[in-house]
Symmetry: C2
Subunit: 333 residues, 2 copies
């Protein structure tokens, strides 16, 4: 049995830079038609010049040229109408990180003041630039996403023409909030779709499954699965693939992030098949994102076959998601 | 300022065996008058001969001889009246591990059938041998202790003359259950008293704070603090200090257990002082355990001084709790 996916899109990707970029980019560029590239480098991507330079760096190292890296801008401070007008053709979204919530987010916003951001957000709405948000507070780990919901609600209500993307949602509360406002959208990762906190701390400690937002309870995972399987057109795939070298993960102070790029479409096909919903996969991994972001990515056909795929134990210096496990879908090479 | 503690007792200790025992035993033997030694070795301690051999191994490597290792027996199957009669002078408690809940618990009980265990538990009550329980199910990590409460309640109600120790309690539900039955008692660790899940997964991943039962929410920690500070005489100190070599912790599959022995009394003094309750410490770390277990440990005076104590980064091959941090009480040498 095989399944054809047209122009798959991964709308939340950390490609890093330098050597790591070279080691990981092909797993996204080969299997996806396009990807939304996160801007949390050191220093973060905050200008048109940096966007252009980073995009060139990505394309220069890509073997698969039939791939579009959609760029984002790191929101560090208010942005003027003119700045946004000048950069709008070069980016697909502006990314908001609350300060301190994840890797390289130190220079993110310390507070989200909708009055202060009014000019920026109205200009973004005017130009049709979506606001992508890592929606977590600095509260207790399991409550951070839930505690962020009033901020999503305030933003969605005050800026009804702004498209707001709730990134890598991990909780049932996010599903409820998403349904309340037409201008809220969400990305869902493979790991939040398939796993729970038990995959980090339930048996032995599994640093390679450690990520932010932290994996949650079975009820949260079930709510996300239900929403994805319902075919909600406001939910799109975004892997949050985020490679860290093995010594940064198996450490006294382990980095957060799951390197899922090598297993994404295979794991998704297994998931949709298990739930007799393979017909929902095209929308989730491509069509919904095309409609939400108004993009027309390069044509690419990926063929998934029902055949065992043994996930490598390590890729360059990074341990991928499901390392050493067997998935029951493979990508036809 | 200084504080004298008489004959401190640590009623839940993993000393391991072989090299590890030699490396860690002195941190317990020097600062405590006695300790309850857990039996989950490989193979577990299930006979009088093993108890005697293990106790001798411990005493042989102790430099501080003014220390009593109180021994326990690993409950693998029903125990006869005669077996218990023969072993009763050699052990202070029988330890029940549900199968699979923590380190070396594979051969623990797969189910807790109070009918099947009736003879064993009635004989233990007859001889005055307490039942020490690692109270967790095999459910979702954050719910395991809560889900175990009906088993504690059934045991406490069916065997009112049996002393039952709820080991290393970590949740508010345990505090509620403890209060319901006169024959339920509990140990509290330093890490469950002072920390939450955020100390494992809240920032970077901290494998050296990873333990079973997993650290819980601020509400759970607060409930435990409140119970300890209330001076509840059914609650005693048991550290669950459980050393693992650094490479077993900073690993793709990290072991559960916190090596707290080097910092216990210093951390407790800081805690009680912070809450203006230094006068409660003697009961918590000694008197309550003496009364619950009816023991008369060797006389030992430990003097705690209000003076900075820089916790070592590593001790032999093990990273201790609070490594590299400064506690504001030291033990006078």
């Amino acid at each position: 049995m095989s399944l054809v996916i047209n122009s798959p899109l991964d709308m939340h990707v950390h490609l890093r830079d330098g050597e790591m970029l070279k080691n990981v980019v092909e797993y996204t560029a080969k299997y996806f038609s396009g990807a939304l590239i996160m801007p949390n480098l050191l220093p973060p991507i905050t200008s048109k010049e940096q966007v252009q330079k980073y995009k060139k760096e990505i394309l220069d190292v890509c073997i698969n040229k039939n791939f579009e890296p959609y760029m984002t801008l790191f929101l560090k401070e208010e942005l003027s109408f003119d700045f946004l007008n000048d950069i709008k053709e070069h980016i697909l979204a502006v990314k908001l990180y609350p300060s301190g919530v994840t890797t390289n987010s130190q220079t993110g916003l310390a507070s989200i003041d909708t009055e202060k951001l009014k000019g920026t957000l109205e200009a973004m709405a005017h130009f049709g630039i979506p606001l992508s948000i890592h929606g977590e507070t600095n509260g207790f780990s399991l409550d951070r996403e839930k505690e962020f919901m009033p901020i999503f609600e305030e933003l969605a209500a005050k800026f009804p023409k702004l498209k707001i993307i709730m990134e890598h949602i991990s909780s049932k509360e996010s599903i409820s909030t998403l349904k309340k406002f037409d201008n809220l959208y969400a990305t869902v990762t493979v790991h939040h779709l398939l796993m729970t906190l038990d995959d980090v701390i339930g048996g032995a400690l599994k640093p390679h499954n450690f990520c932010k937002p932290i994996l949650k309870t079975p009820k949260d995972r079930d709510a996300i699965q239900e929403a994805v399987l319902s075919g909600d057109k406001k939910i799109m795939f975004g892997s949050d693939t985020a490679p860290h070298a093995i010594d940064k993960k198996e450490s006294a102070s382990g980095s957060a992030g799951v390197f899922s790029a090598p297993v994404l479409l295979q794991a998704l096909a297994s998931f949709f098949d298990k739930h007799n919903s393979l017909n929902k996969m095209q929308d989730f991994v491509s069509t919904n994102a095309k409609n939400i972001y108004n993009i027309n990515p390069p044509k690419k056909e990926i063929i998934l076959e029902k055949a065992d795929f043994l996930v490598p134990n390590i890729i360059s210096s990074v341990v991928p998601l499901f390392a050493g496990e067997i998935l029951n879908y493979s990508i036809k090479q």
